[in-house]
């Protein structure tokens, strides 16, 4: 089983919990969710514990992450969007730290399961929808009727807009999930080649050089992807929240 690239996504029970016949066991996925949250909030709490006027390294990182997310949110959704800052920052940090944890060997990648990313995406879309209706009432549906479109094509454009709105949680979740899944499978396959080839003797060891180089390169790429997907998730969240704040395009 050592070289099975799917095995890393296997969920195993650590603590069997069953509530009302439903399986709510504490699994390795739950463990890494807890680890992600503990690491992220622990780091932020530790980095900002001194509240220095002149920040140290850790505090600089914490401040950078704060301002990075704040700038992203402000540039997409305006100053009004800052009311969603805790949500956006939580999403960014959770996804980023979960992705980066996944890069550590033998660690479980929380975001490689579609149900997790889908739940996060539904959280975003749910917030957008609920807040949009709360704030704009039925005017929120103006989101689906773009300005300056001839009346004849409004039904068609609205249908497309509705489909695009409904597909948002799917694209948002599948993008993150698929990137994590595919990246980890690719890494595992190439490193599996290295293990298999080195087991075949001298020629195999020579032949393993290429997949080894590939594995190293892919590892670097995966770190980039881990950050980039967290950023993409965040910026799309910001743009969707902008729709809730300003549905009139």
């Amino acid at each position: 089983m050592a070289n099975d690239p799917i095995h890393q996504f296997q969920i195993s029970k650590i603590l069997d919990i069953s509530i009302g016949g439903l399986d709510f066991s504490f699994t390795n996925s739950s463990l890494f969710m807890v680890a992600t949250v503990a690491a992220a909030s622990g780091f932020l709490a530790w980095a900002t514990s001194t509240r220095s006027m002149v920040p140290g390294r850790a505090q600089t990182v914490a401040e950078l992450s704060y301002e990075f997310v704040a700038n992203t949110l402000r540039s997409s959704a305006g100053t009004e969007g800052m009311r969603f800052f805790p949500l956006v920052f939580s999403l960014f940090m959770f996804v980023l730290v979960a992705n980066l944890f996944g890069m550590i060997p033998f660690f479980f990648t929380v975001t490689s399961h579609i149900i997790v990313t889908f739940a996060l995406a539904m959280l975003v879309i749910g917030t957008v929808t609920v807040y949009g209706f709360m704030r704009h009432g039925w005017h929120f549906l103006g989101l689906f009727v773009p300005h300056g479109v001839p009346a004849a094509v409004v039904p068609l454009v609205s249908a497309i807009e509705v489909i695009s709105f409904l597909s948002r949680p799917i694209s948002l979740s599948v993008r993150l999930f698929a990137n994590m899944l595919a990246g980890h499978i690719t890494l595992k396959v190439f490193s599996g080649f290295v293990a298999t080839l080195t087991g075949l003797g001298a020629l195999g060891i020579f032949g393993a050089i290429l997949p080894l180089a590939m594995t190293v390169a892919l590892t670097a790429l995966e770190f980039l992807v881990a950050f980039l997907q967290a950023y993409v998730f965040t910026i799309l969240t910001c743009m969707y929240l902008n729709d809730a704040l300003h549905p009139g395009h």
């Binding site: 690239p5 399986d23 909030s41």
Partner: protein, 212 residues
């Protein structure tokens, strides 16, 4: 076509058997470890884990959703109530401090400017005053000097006039004495020469000589 279909059939029909479609040397079924390494996506995992691709396996969906809700909920709570206000507070305090320092620096600069302006003005006033004092002093001195010079000049000219008067008196006296001497001399010479002469004749002669 059969080339592509056959391995799939082989997978569904004979789990655990080596795959024919992958371009590695065929492995005998009695070496299970190597056999496993080549069944990348397929049946070995399925056989062991109940058939589903783990990310799509709904067995643990409930557990994952629950624990995601718990962990993410906690994360959101601690960030929104504790960590983000603290972080935002640090940045705000720094922003305020920088703003206050800049304002203070601006104020100090304005003060310095005002002090420089006051100094310049005081300097200009002092210069002007000094100029006035100098002019006054010069005027006083000039006037004093003038008056003294005038007094001395007047004194000198008075003395000159007096001296001239004395000179002319002495001159007149001397001239008068010259007449008397000339008359006497003439009288004496004439008396010596002709023995007899009157003083009046001598005086007339002298006067005529003088005139001529």
């Amino acid at each position: 076509m059969t080339l592509f279909i056959t391995p799939a059939f082989a997978q569904t029909q004979a789990p655990g058997a080596p795959e024919a479609g992958i371009s590695v040397p065929p492995v005998a079924p009695e070496s299970p470890e190597l056999g496993d390494t080549h069944s990348e996506v397929g049946h070995a995992a399925e056989a062991e884990h109940g058939g589903a691709f783990p990310p799509f396996d709904p067995t643990y969906f409930g557990s994952q959703l629950l624990w995601l809700a718990i962990t993410f909920g906690f994360f959101y709570w601690i960030l929104s109530t504790k960590l983000l206000p603290r972080l935002g507070g640090i940045l705000e305090v720094r922003q305020d401090r920088i703003g206050a320092d800049l304002k203070e620096a601006e104020r100090s600069r304005a003060e310095t400017d005002a002090a420089i302006a006051a100094y310049e003005q005081a300097l200009a006033e002092a210069k002007q005053k000094a100029g006035v004092i100098a002019a006054e002093t010069r005027a006083t001195l000039t006037a004093d000097l003038d008056s003294r010079r005038k007094a001395i000049e007047a004194d000198l000219s008075a003395r000159v006039v007096e001296a001239e008067g004395r000179i002319s008196a002495i001159k007149a006296q001397a001239l008068a004495e010259v007449d008397a001497i000339a008359t006497e001399t003439t009288e004496a010479i004439v008396a010596t020469l002709i023995g007899d002469s009157s003083q009046a004749e001598a005086a007339a002669a002298v006067a005529s000589v003088q005139k001529g």
